[in-house]
């Protein structure tokens, strides 16, 4: 599947393929092909116009499905789920690291009371969550402490 860069002419076939994928609004097309598409539209208005009109009908149909904004209650619940990290990031990371290590680390972190949120989440989460917790442990174990920093 080739692409037409801005400096190249776009074939009719490529124009049709892109329209079928990205729809009638060329602004939604990949950035690198927009100029070439615009030139073809200018050069061949009948051909390109027929293709774009067909795709515009589908775009319009898709736009008919509007969504309400998420409820304020959802926003409240999501915010309430944010961990209460009162401690500076370095402390939080230190505690998190110990928490994912075997028993000793878990006990220490639990005693510190800083990972209650994590435990609650893990207990309430679906089965796939367990894999994420394991992955998190893996990531922290293999990572150097400095690699966690958000520069």
């Amino acid at each position: 599947m080739g692409s037409s860069g801005d400096g190249l002419a776009m074939s009719r076939e490529r124009f049709r393929i892109l329209a079928e994928a990205f729809g009638s609004d060329v602004r939604r097309w990949p950035g690198e092909v927009r100029s070439a598409a615009a030139r073809l539209i200018e050069d061949e208005p009948d051909f390109t116009g027929a293709i774009l009109a067909r795709e515009a009908a589908l775009d319009e149909a898709l736009d008919a499905v509007a969504l309400p904004s998420p409820s304020a209650d959802l926003e409240r619940r999501v915010l309430a789920s944010a961990p209460a990290w009162a401690a500076p990031a370095s402390t939080a990371r230190r505690c998190a690291r110990s928490a994912w290590r075997p028993a000793g680390g878990l006990a220490a972190a639990a005693a510190a009371g800083l990972l209650v949120g994590y435990f609650g989440m893990a207990a309430a989460a679906p089965a796939s969550e367990a894999a994420d917790v394991a992955d998190l442990a893996w990531a922290i174990d293999v990572g150097d402490a400095s690699s966690w920093s958000v520069e």
Partner: protein
């Protein structure tokens, strides 16, 4: 086994893997500063991220699942996972929105799989319709049309539906959508084209059926 680390790669749905996978390409991420503040324990940063991304995450899930309650559960779950990975987030190495989209899609796929397993997959007449925005002046015909489009979208294979939702409704670029779907841009193009072709065929057929009914 990963040749680089000698470790077994993590599961496909893992946020950690997603952070690490996306980290191969450096991104300019407008959320980098908020993520850095979140990692330092800044609650206002959490609120900023929720305000900025929750509507889009919730909409993505709703369009994929066509069920408001399940979509809210997915949105909540996405943010729970974000809170967990925040301390390890490396600003500039992964674009947060792409990560959120990817996690949301994977959670949606899980739920869709579960539905199929329970043999309660979308019943064209039984699934919950997406309500129009409150206050929107929609005619009965417009509502019916929206229902038809929803049904046609629901009947698409998951990945084709996801490609259309990302590119059409979420306004993702082809590169962003491909990253969220974990496919190449060429594969994304193919998913989009097949999905739109199937939608057009379904909607044309339905229109023809309706006209046939009206004639009969």
């Amino acid at each position: 086994m990963s040749a680089a680390t000698g470790r077994t790669p993590v599961a496909a749905t893992s946020p950690v893997k997603q952070v690490r996978g996306l980290s191969r390409v450096r991104h300019s991420d407008p959320d980098g500063e908020l993520m850095a503040r979140l990692a330092r324990g800044d609650q206002l940063a959490a609120a900023g991220l929720v305000r900025r991304h929750l509507p889009r995450v919730a909409n993505l899930a709703r369009r994929m699942l066509q069920d408001a309650s399940e979509a809210e559960d997915v949105a909540q779950d996405v943010f729970l996972r974000l809170w967990k990975v925040a301390p390890q987030w490396r600003s500039g190495e992964a674009k947060l929105e792409t990560w959120l989209h990817r996690v949301a899609l994977n959670l949606c796929y899980d739920r869709l799989r579960l539905r199929r397993r329970r043999e309660t997959s979308l019943d064209p007449d039984g699934h919950e319709p997406i309500d129009p925005a409150p206050g929107a002046a929609q005619t009965v015909l417009a509502r019916q049309r929206a229902r038809r489009v929803e049904r046609a979208l629901a009947d698409l294979p998951e990945r084709q539906r996801a490609a259309i939702v990302l590119c059409h409704y979420q306004d993702c670029s082809n590169v962003e959508a491909a990253a969220a779907l974990e496919v190449s841009v060429d594969a994304l193009e193919s998913l989009l084209a097949r999905g739109r072709r199937a939608l057009r065929a379904a909607l044309s057929q339905e229109a023809a059926d309706l006209m046939g009914d009206a004639d009969g």
